[in-house]
Every structure is written in C-alpha cells, then in structure tokens.
Point group: D4
C-alpha cells in the first residue's frame, strides 16, 4: 500500500493493526474513535471554503460511526463540523445548535436505538439528511435494524439511508453531493 | 348483550355492524373514528376532576387508534384531552402544546411509520408515556412493526409499549394507573 | 384543498378518486402511470436549465414508482430525463445510454426483484445515486425487501436508499440536493 | 463521576469494572445479582410508606433482570418487595403469594422463555403490570423475542411492555407511576 | 369420493362448498364450527370406553381450531370432552375444571395470542399436552407465530407442538397416542 | 443437590463442570455425548419390558441432541433403542432398520439441516413421532429454525415438535406417553 | 405480440385473460393447470430424442408449478416426463418410479410444505436436481419460505434452488443444462 | 480416514487441524484459501479436455468460498478457470474477461453483499450459472441472507442458487451437470 504520493484511507482498522504498521507509515494518522487510518501524501485542496458537512449524532455510543463519516469527508478535503450530543432524549441540546446545523451543505445523522434523531433533524432543515443507523442498543434494537427501519420510514422528507454503521458510505455519498457545486 | 344497567364497550366494530344493531341499542353511541360502540346505562362518576389523560398522535392516519384509546378511557369515566396534530415532521406543533400535555396524569402516544413521537414526548415530560405503535405506513413500516421496535428501543426513559393498534389496551393500562390515585 | 395560487401534489391516488374530483380541479393533471395528481397554479421556474435529474428503471413493473419520482421532481420545477428500459438482464441497453445518464445532477434508480440496477449504475457514474426499491417480484422478493437490502449493501459507493416504492421521497431528496446549486 | 452529594446509578456493570473503581467510591454499593452499582450520597426519602412495587419473576435465570429493576426502584426511594420463584410451571407458588402481590402499587413481571407469567399475573390483579421480557431460553426463545411478542399479545388487560432485559426501564416507568400519588 | 362403506373426513371446507355437495352425500354431516365434513358409513367402535381426549381452548376465537381437533378425534372413534372457556385471563375457569381435564388420556390445547394456556395446563397435569397455536390476534400476534414460539419455549414440560391452526394434525397425533393402549 | 435417595438429571453440563463436581458425586455418571449428568440413587423399575422408545437421528452432528433424549428417557426407567445413522441422503440405511423402528412405542427423531428425516419416518410408521430440530448446519439452516419449520409443516401425519435442540423435552413428552400404558 | 413466425410463452396468465385474447391467437394454446399460454409458430426440433427432463412433484397442490416448468421445457423443444404423485408421506409411490426418474437428464422437483421431496430424490439419483419450493401449506409454511430454506439446506448433494413457485425459471435452467449436450 | 487408494476431500478445515494431521497424510494437500484438504491416491482422469468450469467472484472476501468450489471441482477431475476480480463496482473488469467466461460449461458465481454479480453474469451468457451467496458484508448483509435473496430473485434467467458459503455444494452440482456430457 505504501507509495509515494498516494493517499490511503483504511476503515475498521483495530488499533492493534495500526500498531503493527505504524512504523511503515510514519506520516500516517490513526483516528482512534473512528478506527480509521489515513495517509495523505497529497493534501486535497480545501473545497468550498465556507461550506461544511455537518455530522450529527446522539450520544457516546454513536461516535465511532459519526467519526468514521467525519474523518472520511475530511480525507476528501471537505470541511466537517461535529454536533455529537444532540440526542432527542434531551432535545434542547439539539435546538441549541440547530441554527448552525442548518448552514451545512449536507447533514449526516448517525443514531442507534430507535434512530429518531434523523427524523427530527430532517423536519427542522431544508438540507439533504443522510441517515446512518448505528448498531448500538440491545434487545429489540436488533443490532441496528430497528434504527434502519425507523429511518427508512421517517415521516419527515429529505432523508435517505445507508447501511448500518456505514459512516464511510454516508461520507462518500455526501462528498458526491458536495462535489456537484465545485 | 342488551341488559338493564349494563355498560358495553365494543371495539373494532365496522359501521355496517353498527347499522345492523343500532335499533336494538337506541341509547348506544357509535364513535365512527374510533370504530367503537359504547352503551353506558350507568354513567361512571367523572373521577379526579382536574386530572386528565392526554392522547397524542402524529397525524390523520393515527387518529382511529388514538380515538379507540380516548373513547375507552372516557367510557371508564376519565377525562381525556386530545392532541392530534403533533407529528415530529413539524415539531413546532408539538412544542406549542407541550405545556398542556405535561399536566396530564398519563400520556398515550399513538404513532405509525417510525413512531418517534413517543420518544420525543417522553423526553419532554415526567409523566408515564404509554406508546401505541400504529400500522400506518408502507414498505419498511411493516404494518406497525417498525414503530413497535422503535418505541421499545426509545432512548428516552418512562415509556412502555402495547401491541400494534391496541388503543384499547393502552387506555386500560392508563385507567389502571389513574385509579391508583382514587 | 382548492385555493387560488396553491400548488398541489397528491401521490398514490387511484384513478377512480381522480375521476370523482376532476371536475373540481379542471386545471389539474392526473399522471396515470405515476398515480399522481398535480395542480400547479403557479408554475415553478425551470431551474438550472441544462441540468437534469435522471430517473432510471429496469422494466415495465418499475415504471409507476419511477414516474412518481419523475412527476414529483418536475412538480418542483426540475428537468427530468427518463431511462426506463435499462435492466441488467440486458445490460447493453444500460450501456447505450450511460453517457447521457452520467450528465445528470442526481440519479434516481428504481428497481424491484434483486435491485442490482442501482449497484451497477453507481459503479459507472460519479453522481449521487438515490436507490428506490420496488415491490415487484414474488416469493423471495418479499414485496421489495430483497431489493431494499440489496441496495443497502451495494458494493458500489455513492448510493443511498429510501423506503420501498417511495418515488416521492426519492424525488424530494433529489430536489434538496439540486437546490444546493441554485 | 465522583462528586459530593451526587447520586449515581450505573447498570450493566461487570464485577471486574466494579473492582477497578471500588476504591474511588468507597461509599458505593455493588449489587452483584443486578450488575448495578449505586452511590447515594443523599438518601432519598422513603416515599409512600406502606406502598411498594412488587417485582415478580419466574426463576433463577430471570433474577438479574428482576434485580436490576428492584435496585433501580430502591435507588429512587421506593419500597420493593421481591417474589422470585413464581413461574407458571409450578403455578401454586404464584398463588401462595398473589394476595401480597395484589397490594402493590405497580407490578414488574420479568420472565423469559414464553413469558406467560406476565399474562397470568395481570389476569389476577387490578394493578398496572409492567412486563419485562428476559433473554433466557434457547432455540425458539430467540434471545427474548418470543417473550416480548408473547407479552405484547397477552390476552389479559393492564399490561405494557419494555425492551428485552430492560429492568432499569421498567423501574423508571414504575417510578413515574408511583410519583403520581406523591 | 362417494363410495359404499367409505369414511370421509374433509377439513377446511367452507359452508358454500358443503351446500353444493350436500345432496350427493345425504348421510354426511357438516360441522360448521370446525368447517369439517364427515361421512362415516362404517361407524368406528368407540374405543377405551372411559377414556377421553380433552380439547381445551381459551375463547371464542379458538373454537374453530379446537373443533377441527375434536371432530377429527371423534371421527376416528375416540371420546372427546370439550373445555372451551378456560383462558388464563380468567384463570379460575380453568381451575374449576382442571380435575376433569386431568383424567384425560391426552390433552389438546388450542390457543391464540400469547398461547400461554398450553403452558399453564401442562404445569397442572401429568398427561401429554399437544399444543395448537391459533392464528387469532393482531399486530404482534403475527397470525399465530407468537403463539407457536411461545408454546415451543414453554417453561412447563410435557408439551409438544403442531403447526398453526392444525387441529387436524393435533388430533391425528392424539389418536396415535391413544391407539397405543388398545 | 446431594441427598440420600435423590435422583438427579442435569442437562447441558460441560465436561469442565462435571470435572469440578465429580468428587462430590462419585456415584454419578457423566454422559459425554449427551452432556448430561445423572445420579440415580433409587433405580427406577424398568417399565414395559419389551417396549422401547426409538431414538433416530441422521448423522454425527445430531448425536448430542439424540443422546440427551436417550439418556433422559433411560433416567426415567424406559428402554431406549438408538438408530443413529439413518439420514435421508442415504435412505437405504433408514430402510434397513425401519422394521425395528416400527416396533417402538414412541419415536424421537432428531435432525438438523432440512430436518426431513422426521417426515420420512412418520410416513413409514403408525407410532407417534416426536420431532426434535437440531441446530446443525450453516447459512440458511439458521441455527435449527429451518429444521423446526420443516418439521412443523411436514406433509406426513402423526408428528409433533419440540424446541430446537430440546432432546430433554422430547424425552419428557415421550415418557408421558409411555406412562399412559403402565 | 401477434407476429408471423414468432413463438410466445406467457406465464401466470389467468384464464380470464386468455379468454379475452383467444380470438386474436387462434393457434395458441392455454395450459390451464400451468396457467401458461404458448404460441409456437415455428415448432422447435425435438432435441435429444431419448433424453427427457423429469418433472416430479408431491401432490395436487404442487401441480400448477410443476406444469409451469413442464410446459416451459416443452416449449423449448425438450421431452418432459411427469411424476406427479410422489410425495414422501407415501414414499413407496416415489420408489415405484425412481428407476424411470433416474434416466432423466435433469430433474425438476417441485414441493411445498416442508419440501423434503427434493432431498429424498437427490439422495437417490446422480442427476442434477433443480428444486422449486411451492407456496402451498399454511401457518409455518410461510408461503413457501419453509420449503425454500429446507431445499437450500438439504443434506443431500446435487441440488440447487430457484425462487418460490418459479417453475419457469427451473425449466430455463434445465434447458441451459440440456443444451450443453446438443 | 487413511486408506490405500482412497480419495479424501475435507472442507472447512482450519489450518490448525491440518497441522495436527499433516504427518499422518504426507501425500495430502492443504488448500489454505479454500480451507480444504484433499488426498487423491487415485488421480481422476481429466475429463472433457477443453471443457472447464468457470469460477467467478467479486473480490478478496469471496475467495475462500470460490476456492472451496474450485478445489472441489478439481478434486473430481474437472478443469477449472478462476476469474476472481470481477465485481460489478468495477464492471469493466468483468467485461474484459466475459468472452472467456462464456466458453465455460458451467459458471459458479460467488458473491457477498448484494450478490449482483450472479445476475449480471447470467444476463451475459447462455450457460447455467450456479450462484453461491457469500457471508461477507455487515449490517443489512445479514451474513449472506441478502445475497441469497438477491440471487433467488434475479431478473436474469438461467440461475439457480445453493446455500450461503456452500462452494462445495455448488461444485458438486456443477460436476453433476458436466458429467452428463461424458
């Protein structure tokens, strides 16, 4: 994988794997929360300087997926702003930052359990919302299936959904959207 | 069924059935939205005069289930207040009446599709919330299963759930709670 | 619903319903394939004059869902180009128009059965692909569930998915994307 | 987490975690059966002195979930009475204590396998019954799903259901009910 | 089908079918509740004179399946005793006849919804209990699947299960058991 | 558990557990294939001297479940005959012993994968067949669910089914049947 | 559709549809059991004169699917031999014709309920067996899903499976195999 | 297992098992990718010298299953050609070798995730395609179930399907087809 001038993005990498390869890639960076390794020999231009992708998630358990999305988008040269404690059980936290979220080009909303965050956000903005179900929760959460179904049947409009825990795919889709403007 | 002094509550009665029995029960009342027939020869005392059960639902499609709950609770002599256009796709409508909802003894929240209404409400109140999944929606709504799972895995606390479309059961459970105070 | 200057979009309307209301809305239009009724008192500006949304589907059975998407997007004032006989069983038909499809701002791909069309298209373009599973097929197609799961697990990147048969939602999401440029 | 005057309730804590933090919280208590850690710097008033919440379960395998519920309710200052060997395979044991159970304000019934205990209890009392499906059993028990479905479709009235193994949620709901009286 | 000396048992026959064939089989009998048609040219010997098969069910909705079982067993010459209002929501009715039920050679227990009747009965007797899940109920009853799973995971011993609504199969299995003694 | 004159049957015991308790129960016996521990201080009378229960299974992978059934039945004092290599992929092996199997009072048929053995056996005998689905197989075997469904929908008559891997329950049911004769 | 020299095969055609088009296609043939319409202006050569495809099914309810396969194969010019009463509940009927079945090039085995026929046949022959699950049965047959899973997990080798009720697809696959020889 | 002149094929063998038996079978060969051990004392004749079975797969994760198929077919004496980087996300790679693939007698197509490869290949050839779903992917891939359903509902004709990860079964079926010609 190691080549001059090549950019590398490796997702779902355990820290133990990183530790075994870190000496071969001293310029690489391991994003521990995201479990993502990046190596950017050629820095991408930061595109659309004031534009950003908002990555929203509900709580601690959703952060790894949210970070996988955020790190991926940054890898492709896009600005990312993180809103990571906005779960609907304490909906005032979401409201306190919704004006900032509204300014994003695209919103990635990662949520486990009943996944209602994506519906609530989409009802409050006019931007495309890419929903990422997260495999947190237990019992009837069915490893993210409940969040997936919940997001697919959202009563709000302007949502589309990617696979469970697929922060990477959400970011790729967001990047395709953002690159329309450039 | 027709006896002096007997009270009758029949749920899931089609209007055609009602029309074939209405002459036998001239004092009876058919609640068309709820598809419930009631005959109350002995009026129950209105209990706990200022107390009420709040019945909340998201939209038109959820009204039959919400009404089944409301009519059942009224049949047992409890005050009911209806909040029927509070879906989270337009969350401001919920916020405009949340202070009233907070005053209820118990809240029954009926919602189809992704059923997020129950989670949002429970995050905003301190009252018990009885969630009723509604079999509206199509595709991945799976006839109410998605709403059911969503409600069971709510990230808010203070929710419990009854069977899909079971407005009657929700009201019975609410009545058991309210009768603790009397 | 009838008001001066109001635009109306009603989906999933049976022709019999249309026939009962057509006299009240003489300026309205019933899109029979899409089962959509539109009334546009105020024509939207045609936006982004050379831009268009591509609506792709595999075969006859998918057309109602594809048309629901196409008519919805047109209702909001966007150009739509239809590519309706591009199923992968005869993949040459897809290849004969892929260069045109590549020029779209956004692609909506509606497919039933195994839903592989969305994967194949997404592998061939750099545009966002909104996949709509269609409830065609029988047996193990499970009313669109197989297409839904197939699209969610696509090995191609740049896909996101909406609910089964939700052409309307796909178009709304596409419109949110396209309006970023305007 | 350690602060003066703060009360802490941590569920699903393995004993190994407790052992690593016990020295930091010498006043804390680890409830081994419940896998719950509590730290109550400010003791709650014991409310409703003669009132109690009944926690009922069928057998040994259900005790961790029942204890999670019981310890949670006690943490909030409510009296709890435990009835832990009342499975319906030996229904006489349930009958020998049903008169005591009837005196409770609320009943939490935890059961795995076919979960019939909740139905049987609800048929014998007039109190609200909060059913907690437990992920015991094997094969067709499907990790608590069968108990969950069984409780949702109970032929008895006055039951509502929380997520599988969610003793904590059942207690929170019970506490919301009990606090109505105070 | 019409032959001298032949016995016929036809299950799941709608009354309209019966009415179109009744003139061809004047000696036949249509069991309306069971939707079973029988024609017994050669009466079977009544076997094991004091022995009987107990057919138990919970309520009105389960009677067609219970009757299919009962009529089938009688067709093969076995005594049947019916116990048809013994649902666990009013468990005292079951207790009032449990001593009679205990005297049966085999017990067939038909129940829909959560199907707990079979578990409760099996816990009270020493006889084999053949459980028949019934497709009554709605929502999470899933057309008998919940009752099926519930019966398969019964915490009581001495139960085995047949297909949903398969009163005929339960009776055939019961007959195989009873014929061991003759 | 250790008492004079008490008989003990413990199923699903790992050999490591046995090794830790063997010194406390020197008279006990560990049945390694069945993972069952038995301690019979009072030997049961061998009942019905020429009668036996046939335990049939398809192949090596099914033997633990078959043995759990066999050892349980023997524990209760019944004769057992084992037929353990009779899978339908080599149906001649089943035919070579079917005359012996026919002489059994009851047949327990354990099978994984598609579980067709139970259907084939039941079509060849007049004895009750207790089918035990086994959680062998992979992929679409779904840990025994496919065998379970297959046995429930058998086109042969005279079958009933117990939970996946429940050799113990099958034997208990068989014992209830056999005890009718004694 | 009507053209000189064109061959037409239309599956899943209701007789009412046929009756409305029969006058337009007087040379066409409606195969009522198969619900297939064929029009063969150019007769195919009968290929491989002594070779044939065996179509095997278990009982009356499976015949429509078996016939769809048989008529399709004949349409393409292949010999077909039908073995239609070979269900494993009466396995002797299968054995009485197994020597004939063995002579086939390919075997199509259609079966509903538990679908064991395909396994049994494949264990008895050395020819490829194409299994077609049929949506007969009720309850746990789940509209052919149980037969599908059963066939996929067959313990016999030499089986592959097509979609539920897809007699047409089975025949097409059989034709691809047979054409290898020509 | 070790005998003179005997051929052995053992699938799903971990390398650790191989290492513990390798000294007993010095002539044996362990195929590490396929996790298959073969011992061929009597070499099979290479059949149909120019004929071959094509084994096609999409990517690295599918290779173990593809290799299980390939090694099995070679064990029985058939030529195999491997096409292992032909996933539809980069469909040009498939097209660059499709002319070679078309020359095969039979094609085995192994694919995980959405499994669209099998559909695409079958639309491009006239040869029988045996589809093997692979349990790669995560979330909505459901351990190969999505690929399985996708392959069963393929819009292309000439496909049949074996169990998830069953490379061995696919090869056995392919061998039965190929042996028709010899």
């Amino acid at each position: 994988m190691k080549e001059e001038g090549i950019n590398i993005l490796a997702t779902r990498m355990d820290i133990s794997v990183y530790q075994s390869v870190r000496h071969d890639f001293p310029e690489g960076k391991y994003h521990e929360d995201a479990r993502v390794f990046t190596l950017s020999c050629r820095k991408p231009d930061i595109k659309n300087n004031n534009d950003f992708i908002a990555v929203v998630c509900a709580g601690t358990a959703d952060i790894p997926v949210a970070e996988e999305a955020a790190v991926t988008a940054e890898f492709y040269g896009y600005n990312v702003r993180r809103f990571y404690d906005t779960g609907i059980a304490g909906i005032h936290r979401l409201f306190s930052c919704i004006d900032e979220i509204r300014k994003a080009e695209v919103i990635i909303a990662a949520a486990g359990m009943e996944g209602a965050l994506a519906s609530v956000v989409a009802g409050l903005v006019k931007t495309p919302v890419i929903a990422v179900p997260v495999s947190t929760g237990y019992g009837a959460a069915f490893s993210g299936v409940t969040a997936l179904l919940s997001m697919l049947t959202s009563c709000a409009s302007g949502i589309s959904v990617v696979n469970i825990d697929n922060g990477f795919g959400a970011a790729q889709f967001a990047v395709r959207i953002c690159s329309l403007k450039s």
